[in-house]
Structure formats: structure tokens, C-alpha cells
Symmetry: C2
Subunit: 232 residues, 2 copies
DNA sequence: TAGATTGTTAATCGATTAACAATC
DNA sequence: TAGATTGTTAATCGATTAACAATC
């Protein structure tokens, strides 16, 4: 079984031309592909077929091939997909390795929890500071991250060209904090405040997290599954 | 402008017959409707038209009417929707008020953060305990919740008929913890461990949370929006 | 070469939107 | 009643699956 893949992970075939705009449904699935491929990579696997990946991920092989083809021919007939190459390609598409700089605003429980994870490094995002209003913790370090006064946030973000802000503030504060951040040039808001941030500033993107929605979905499924039991 | 709605929120029209199975796309939207309607309710609003709600939520009025009609005629021609009635109906559908009992497994940063929120009460879910392996915190209380040894988890869950477990444990522990919980009769797993729990036990439902996926999506959008800027 | 597996087209399915008659 | 707004059907759009020819 021969391969056109070279050792350095490059590819002989002419690929990578972005064709039509990538469907939103495909984009939503990319992080999941990225996760699974990363795992396979860590296991030392070199290649995988759409059929095998489909079994692992619980989707159809057809969907995998269709999805990956939105970005150009990543695979090779008779061989499958090179895991390292594919993982790298998806990383690229998702902006891993862009070296984005992030700050965490709000050093409460959730802020601390996020400060403690390796989630950011893993995706090439650098956390460089935390901000809070609580005098007692300003000046301290939380998991290696310095906590500054929220009064210094604007200047800090301008000076350090911060790309992303993680909002773990009370919902009453969300809009004013977001406003300050956007005026300081921050373009990505990851919002955990208990409100849906709607921002119209051009070039600014927001990802609203609603854990409560997920809890509700769980309750719904729990209820549905009980209802079904009852029917029997 | 008259109304068929009575003061107690009931409804004269014959409604509520569940027709065809509700499309998954609609179910995914229900928590969001629930949130917005809850907010309108707190603002003291009594009724709303699909047109107005569509503006607030950023979806089409057509979709709202289509969605709500999956569950029966909740609205009234010429009047709109009664907010209290509609909110209650969606609560019911989602299983709010079923009085589910939940435990939090893992008293790390995220576990604490979840213990501190009012997210559970708000949705009628009662947290009744936390579990951890750390001797130093076993026996203490975190935001009013007693922390027990994970060794006692099985018996506790059986005795108290626990419905839902929130997993904030290291990913290495996730499967063994999940296994213990399921054997103790827990039927809903809300999984924050950094791995996708696949459970085949009948009647057990799992909601996997991958915050990292959301961060990646944010990076993707950030990158796309920069790319667009560049084009100009 | 023969076998495996992709890339891609065509068919199916489901979700969204538009339009308007029904009706409050 | 007249105006407003739903419920519902039909049209459109997008996403998924199936199938197979291309090709490594």
C-alpha cells in the first residue's frame, strides 16, 4: 500500500482550493472532527478511512467524505485520510495557531475554573490576564494569571492587542463590559454572562454560552425517555 | 380587544394535542423560547405576537408560528400569544417542574461554579449533594451543599432516587464514575469531563458539554471575519 | 493488477420561508 | 364589523444519504 503523503505531512496532489462557501452545518461539525482526530493522533494512528471514522464518531461515512470535501481533496482513494495532515488542515481552518490573545473578565468561580483549564493553550489561544472589580483579589495571581482592576482593562487591551475576551461577569455588567472591550479593539467575545449579548459592531463576533439550555435539553430527554418507558 | 385567555392562564380552545413527533430542530430551539418568554414575563408583559417576538429573537415570525404549532394551537388569531400560558406550556414540555434531583460529582473549580449558580432551581432541578475524592473537603459544605465521599455515592443515589448527575471529574475518571451512577439508577448525565461519554444503557440520557468546541467556533468566526476585512 | 476507498453526482429527506385563508 | 394575527399549506432551500465511477 503506497501513499502520496510525504513524511512532512505535505501532499502531492493539488488540493486546498476552497470551492463554494462552506455550509454552516459543516462548520459546526469541524471542532468535533478536530477532537477525534487529535485523539487518534495521540494514539499514534497514521491513517483512517471514512468508514472507520464514521463508526467511532457515530455519523455516516458519506457525511464525513462530503464534509471534508468542502475544503478540497484531503483523502486519497484506496488509502483513506492521513490523520496528521487532516488534523492540521482542520486546525488551520479553525484558526488554531493564529496565536490569539485572550483575557478573562470576572474572577469568580467560573472565571477561575476557566483560568485553570488547559483548554486555551490546546487551541493556541494565549490567556494573558484577568480582570475583576474585587479589590481583595486585584494584584493577586490565579493559576498563574495576574488579576488587574477592571478600570485598567481598556488600556491593557489596547496596549496588548487583545483579540478575545471571556466574559464571566454578572449579567447586569455584561453590556457595559462588552462595550469597553469593543472600544478597546477586542473582536471576539466569549460570553458566559447569563444573557444573550447582541452586538452590532462590525467585525466583532460573539459566542454566547447558555449552560442552562443544555440542562433543559437534558431534562427534556429525561422526560421523553420516561414517557417512552411508561408506554410499555 | 377581547381574549379567550382566562385569568388563571387556562385556555378555552381545545388545544394541546401532540400531533406528529416534534422535529429535533424545534426541540433544540425550545430552551431559547423559554428564556425569552421568561424575560418578557418578568417584565410584566401579557401577550406578544409572532412578529414582535421574531424581532426580539432574531428569527422569522413564520418559524415561531410553525414551531409553536407543533404542540397545538397556543396562540389566537388577531391577539397573539399569551406569554404566561406559552411559557408555562414550554416549561411543561421541557420537564421543568418534574422536580428532578441532581448531584454534582467533582468539587473542583467547575463543580463549585455550578454549585454557586441558580441555574438549577430556576429550572426546577434540586441539587441535593456533592461528591469528591478529596479528604480535605469531604464533610464540608460548598454553597450550602454537603460534600460526601465518592465511596458513598452509589448508596446515596439509590437511597435518594437521584435523577441527574453533573460530572465535573477528570476525564480519566469519567467512565468509572458514570458506571457507578448508572448502576445506582441515575438516568441523566450532564457531562463536563473532557471526553464524550457514550452510554448504551437503556433509558439513560447524556448531554456532553464541550466548551472547547465553542472556543474553536469563536476562533473560526474571528478568523473568517478578519479574512473578510482583508478582502476589502 | 485487484482491492480499497475516495470524490462526486443524484435522490431523499427535513427544515425554513412565504403566502394567505381562517378566525378571533 | 374591520383589523390583526394566527394556523396551515405550498414552495424553497439546505442538509443528508446512497450509489458508483474515478483512481490510487
Amino acid at each position: 500500500m503506497e501513499s502520496i503523503y510525504k513524511l512532512d505531512g505535505t501532499f502531492d496532489k493539488h488540493v486546498g482550493e476552497m470551492k463554494t462557501p462552506v455550509p454552516p452545518a459543516v462548520i459546526k461539525r469541524l471542532p468535533r472532527y478536530h477532537r477525534y482526530l487529535g485523539e487518534l493522533l495521540r494514539e499514534g494512528r497514521l491513517r483512517i478511512s471514512s468508514a472507520e471514522l464514521s463508526k467511532i464518531m457515530g455519523v455516516t461515512a458519506s457525511q464525513i467524505r462530503q464534509d471534508l470535501n468542502c475544503f478540497g481533496g484531503f483523502g486519497q482513494q484506496g488509502y483513506g485520510y492521513n490523520i496528521k495532515y487532516l488534523h492540521g488542515k482542520i486546525s488551520e481552518l479553525l484558526g488554531v495557531g493564529e496565536g490569539y490573545k485572550a483575557v478573562i473578565v470576572g474572577a469568580g468561580n467560573l472565571g477561575r475554573a476557566l483560568a485553570a483549564t488547559r483548554m486555551f493553550e490546546r487551541r493556541g489561544v494565549n490567556r494573558i490576564a484577568m480582570f475583576d472589580v474585587d479589590e481583595k483579589i486585584i494584584g493577586t495571581k490565579i493559576y498563574g494569571l495576574s488579576v488587574y482592576s477592571i478600570d485598567d482593562m481598556h488600556d491593557f487591551c489596547v496596549r496588548n492587542k487583545v483579540d478575545i475576551a471571556v466574559l464571566t461577569v454578572p449579567k447586569e455588567a455584561a453590556y457595559s463590559v462588552a462595550d469597553t472591550l469593543i472600544r478597546a479593539g477586542v473582536r471576539g467575545l466569549w460570553n458566559f454572562a447569563n444573557t444573550e449579548l447582541k452586538v452590532s459592531a462590525p467585525g466583532v463576533v460573539v459566542e454566547n454560552i447558555h449552560l442552562g439550555d443544555s440542562l433543559m435539553t437534558l431534562c427534556y430527554e429525561l422526560k421523553s425517555s420516561s414517557d417512552e418507558e411508561d408506554k410499555k
